[in-house]
Amino acid sequence: MSPMTAQVVTLKIDGQDVSAHENDSILTAAREHGVFIPTLCNLDGLTTLGACRLCLVEMAGSPKLLPACTTKVSEGMEVVTSSERIAKYRRMVIELLFAEGNHICAVCVSNGHCELQSMAQTVGMTHVSVPYLYPKRTVDASHERFTVDHNRCILCMRCVRVCDEIEGAHTWDVMGRGTAAKVITDMNQPWGTSDTCTSCGKCVHVCPTGSLFEKTASVSEMLKRRHFLPYLTMMREEVE
C-alpha cells in the first residue's frame, strides 16, 4: 500500500499512547517513540525473520508473547516491552546462544564490537547457566579476502538475506537441521571456489559476530560498517 493511503493507528506501548502507520511493526513503532527493544536477527534494510526471539513482547489480552519485529501494529493494541518474565527469557536466549557455539571473546576478531557480546551486557547476563555444548565446527578460509568461522555463527541469517535481497547473488544458504544447521556458500562448497560470490563483503559487514571477517583483521580489529544498507534501501525505494 502506498504511503498516501496508509492508515494511522493508535496503540499503547508500555502505557504510553503512540501512533503508527498500520503497516509498521511493533518494533518500528517502539523505536520511533524511543522505546528500546533488544534485537539480534533483525537488521534494518533486510526482510524480517523472527528467529532470535529477543524482541518478544507481551500483549494485553493474549497469553502469547509476540516478536515485535514481525508483528504489525493494530488499533487499540496494548504492548508491554519489558517485564521480569521477558527479561528472563531474553537472558536465557543469549545464554543458549553462548552455550551453543564456541564463543571465546578474548581471541575473537570482533571482541569489543560484537553484537552478541554487547547484547549479553544489555540483557544482564552474568553467567551461562546451561552446560556448554562444545560443538565441533569448522572454519573456511578458502576465500582470498574473507573467512567464515562457524564456531561463532549464531544462525541469524543476516548474511543469507543480505546476499539474496541486496546483492542479489544468493551465494549463502542454510543446510541441516537443529543445531547441525549451518550457513553454506553455493552447494556447500568452499567459499573460495564459489561461482556466485561477488566478493562484495556485504555479508561480512552485516554479521553480528566474528563469524564472518576480513582476513586482514586481528583480535578486536574487525569493525563492521553497515551504513551502506539503509543507504541502498533508501535509494532503491526512491527509484521505485
Binding site: R53, M92, E100, P131, L133, V174, R177, G178, T179
Partner: protein, 552 residues
C-alpha cells in the same frame, strides 16, 4: 460427467456387485500387505479361476479393516444379499482352497475366524473410515457404487458455496491435524479473504511417530479425500489443490495418483466438475520426511520450493498462504469427514460426540494393549472404554500405568483419568492434547523419564534450527533428561530442566518448539517421584543414588 451419468455408473456398479453370490474382501492396506495379503489375494484369484467360480465369487482388494496386527485379514460375505459376514485373520495363501470350499457349505473355518462380536468392533463408530474395508481403493466405480460422490453432486448441484460452509459450521467439526481449530470458521475465513486465486492444501505429512490414521484414509479410501477437497474448493472458490504427502507412504502415493487420474477422467476433478463450470485440479507434492513440514507455514514454504521452515503467524495462511494467496489448509481426516457431513447434514454429524467435540475420531492404538490397530470412536468415549473394552486391556496380566496421546506435542495421562471422556477439552485439562490421534498405552514396566527422553530426542532431531529456543533448548533439555535417566543429575539439573520447559514453550517460533516440553511437563506433573528417585541427593558424594531403605 454430469450427475446423471455419475448416478448411472453407481447403479450399474451396484447391480454388478449384486450379481455375485459370494464376495471375498482382502485387505490391501499397508499393514496387511506387509504380512503377505497380496499373495493371499493372488491365491484366492487363482483358486477361483481353477474352480471356474468367476461368475459367482468376487475377490476384491479393500482398505484397512482395523485390527492390523492380526493381518492378513480377509472378510467373506457368504451370499451378498444376506448380512452375514465372517472375518478371517492371519490368512495364508494355503488357506485359499479352504476358504473357497467353505463358501457353498456355509461353514466357517473356526481356526481362522476373528470374532467380530467383541467391543473392538461393536464399540466403534465409522464415519471417516466407513468405506475402509469395503471399497476397492483402486476403483473409481466401486467408490461410486458405495454412495461415493453423492455429497459432491449434492454440493455442486443443489447447494451454494455458502450453504456448504453453513453445513460444516453446523456440524461442529474441528481440525483433526492437532490444533482442533473449528473447520467451518476456517472455511468461511478463506471464503471471505480477498485474492485473485485461492488454494486448498491437504496436509498428509503425518509425522508423529506411531501415527498412521491419515495413511489409512489415503490408502483405503483415496477418492473420499479427493471428494472432500473438491467440496472444500467449491465452498471457498479455489481452483488448485495440493496434497502434501510424505514420501514414506509409497502405497498412498500410488493410490492417490491413480485416483486423481481416474477422477479427472470422470470429471469429478479437473475442468467442468459434475457438469458445472467449476474447475479444480489437484497435484501431489511429496514431503521428504521432516516432521516440521507438517506445520502449515513450513509446509507452504516447502510446496513453494523453499526450505521447509515455519514463519511467524499472523499472517495466517487463510489470509496469506501459498504464494501469498488465501489458502485453506486441512488435515486428511478433517477432509475425509466432509463427504459424510454434506451427505447426511451438519446436524446429523453434530449429533455424534460431545457438546464441544463433535463427530468421531480415529486413533492409532499402540503399545501395551491387547488389540493394537486403527479405531474410530465417537468423541467423548471414555478413556477406559478405549483401553480396556476396545483395546482389550493390558496383555500378560500387566497393570495400566498411563496413556500417551498427542505424540511429541502431547502428554501422559495417568490412571486417575481413566473415567474421563476423550474430547479436546478433557484431554487439555488432563495436561495432554488430542493431537492427531496417536495413543500409546503403557504398563507399569514403562519408565516415564525414558518416554519423555524419547520424545525430546525426536523434537531435538526434528527441530528445523531457525529459532534459538527450539534449536538449542531441545538439545539442552534432552541432555538433562539423559543425565536424569543415567542417575547422574542433581536437584539443580531438574530445576533447570523445568525452567527450560517454561522458556522453550513460551518463546519458540512454531508449534514444534512450543509443545516440545509437553511430554516432560506432563510426566513431571504426575510422576515426579520417578524423576526424583533418580537424582543424586545433596550430600551424596558418589554418582549413584542411594536406595531409600539404605538411607533410612
Amino acid at each position: 460427467m454430469n450427475p446423471e451419468e455419475l448416478r448411472k455408473i453407481a447403479i450399474t456398479q451396484k447391480e454388478s456387485n449384486a450379481q455375485y453370490k459370494h464376495q471375498i474382501c482382502v485387505c490391501t492396506a499397508a499393514g496387511c500387505v506387509s504380512s503377505g495379503a497380496d499373495k493371499v489375494k493372488d491365491a484366492l484369484n487363482a483358486g477361483v479361476k481353477k474352480l471356474g467360480l468367476e461368475s459367482t465369487v468376487q475377490v476384491k482388494g479393500v482398505g484397512c479393516m482395523g485390527p492390523c496386527s492380526a493381518g492378513p485379514l480377509v472378510r467373506v460375505k457368504v451370499r451378498v444379499e444376506s448380512e452375514g459376514e465372517i472375518l478371517y485373520k492371519e490368512v495364508t495363501p494355503e488357506n485359499a482352497t479352504e476358504i473357497l470350499a467353505s463358501l457353498d457349505t456355509g461353514k466357517k473355518i473356526d481356526k481362522l475366524e476373528y470374532n467380530t462380536d467383541v467391543p473392538f468392533f461393536t464399540r466403534q463408530k465409522k464415519v471417516v473410515l466407513e468405506n475402509a474395508g469395503y471399497v476397492d481403493p483402486d476403483s473409481f466405480v466401486d467408490y461410486i457404487g458405495h454412495d461415493g460422490y453423492e455429497a459432491m453432486i449434492k454440493a455442486y448441484t443443489e447447494m451454494a458455496p455458502q450453504d456448504v460452509i453453513e453445513e460444516v459450521i453446523k456440524s461442529g467439526l474441528r481440525g483433526r491435524g492437532g490444533g482442533g481449530y473449528p473447520t467451518g470458521l476456517k472455511w468461511s475465513t478463506v471464503a471471505k479473504a480477498r485474492g485473485t486465486r485461492k488454494f486448498v492444501i491437504c496436509n498428509a505429512d503425518e509425522g508423529d511417530p506411531g501415527a498412521f490414521m491419515d495413511r489409512a484414509v489415503a490408502e483405503s479410501d483415496p477418492y473420499r479425500l479427493l471428494e472432500g477437497m473438491a467440496i472444500a474448493a467449491y465452498a471457498i472458490g479455489a481452483d488448485t489443490g495440493y496434497i502434501y504427502l510424505r514420501a514414506e507412504y509409497p502405497l498412498a502415493v500410488k493410490r492417490l495418483r491413480a485416483a486423481i487420474r481416474q477422477a479427472e477422467r470422470h470429471q469429478t476433478l479437473g475442468n467442468g466438475i459434475c457438469g458445472t463450470t467449476f474447475n479444480f485440479r489437484v497435484e501431489i507434492r511429496l514431503g521428504a520426511g521432516a516432521f516440521v513440514c507438517g506445520e502449515e507455514t513450513a509446509l507452504i514454504a516447502s510446496i513453494e520450493g523453499n526450505r521447509g521452515q515455519p514463519r511467524p503467524r499472523p499472517p495466517y495462511p487463510a489470509a496469506s498462504g501459498l504464494w501469498g494467496f488465501p489458502t485453506l489448509i486441512n488435515n486428511v481426516e478433517t477432509l475425509a469427514n466432509i463427504p459424510y457431513i454434506v451427505r447426511e447434514g451438519g446436524d446429523a454429524y453434530g449429533s455424534i460426540g460431545t457438546e464441544k467435540s463433535k463427530g468421531t475420531k480415529v486413533f492409532a492404538l499402540a503399545g501395551k494393549v491387547e488389540n493394537t490397530g486403527l479405531i474410530e470412536v465417537p468423541m467423548g468415549t471414555l478413556l477406559k472404554e478405549i483401553i480396556f473394552d476396545i483395546g482389550g486391556g493390558i496383555p500378560d496380566g500387566g497393570k495400566f500405568k498411563a496413556v500417551q496421546t498427542g505424540g511429541p506435542s502431547g502428554g501422559c495421562i495417568p490412571d486417575q483419568f481413566l473415567d474421563m471422556p476423550v474430547d479436546y477439552e478433557s484431554l487439555a485439562k488432563a495436561g495432554s492434547i488430542m493431537g492427531s490421534g496417536g495413543m500409546i498405552v503403557m504398563d507399569d514396566t514403562s519408565s516415564m523419564v525414558d518416554i519423555a527422553k524419547f520424545f525430546m530426542e525426536f523434537c531435538m532431531t526434528e527441530s528445523c534450527g531457525k529459532c534459538v529456543p527450539c534449536r538449542v533448548g531441545t538439545v539442552q533439555m534432552h541432555n538433562l533428561l539423559e543425565k536424569i535417566a543415567n542417575n547422574e543429575a542433581t536437584e539443580d539439573d531438574l530445576a533447570l530442566l523445568q525452567e527450560l520447559c517454561d522458556m522453550v514453550k513460551n518463546t519458540s517460533l512454531c508449534g514444534l518448539g512450543q509443545t516440545a516440553p509437553n511430554p516432560v511437563v506432563s510426566t513431571l506433573r504426575y510422576f515426579r517421584d520417578e524423576y526424583e528417585s533418580r537424582l543424586v541427593r545433596k550430600g551424596d558424594n558418589g554418582s549413584k543414588p542411594q536406595p531409600e531403605e539404605v538411607k533410612a
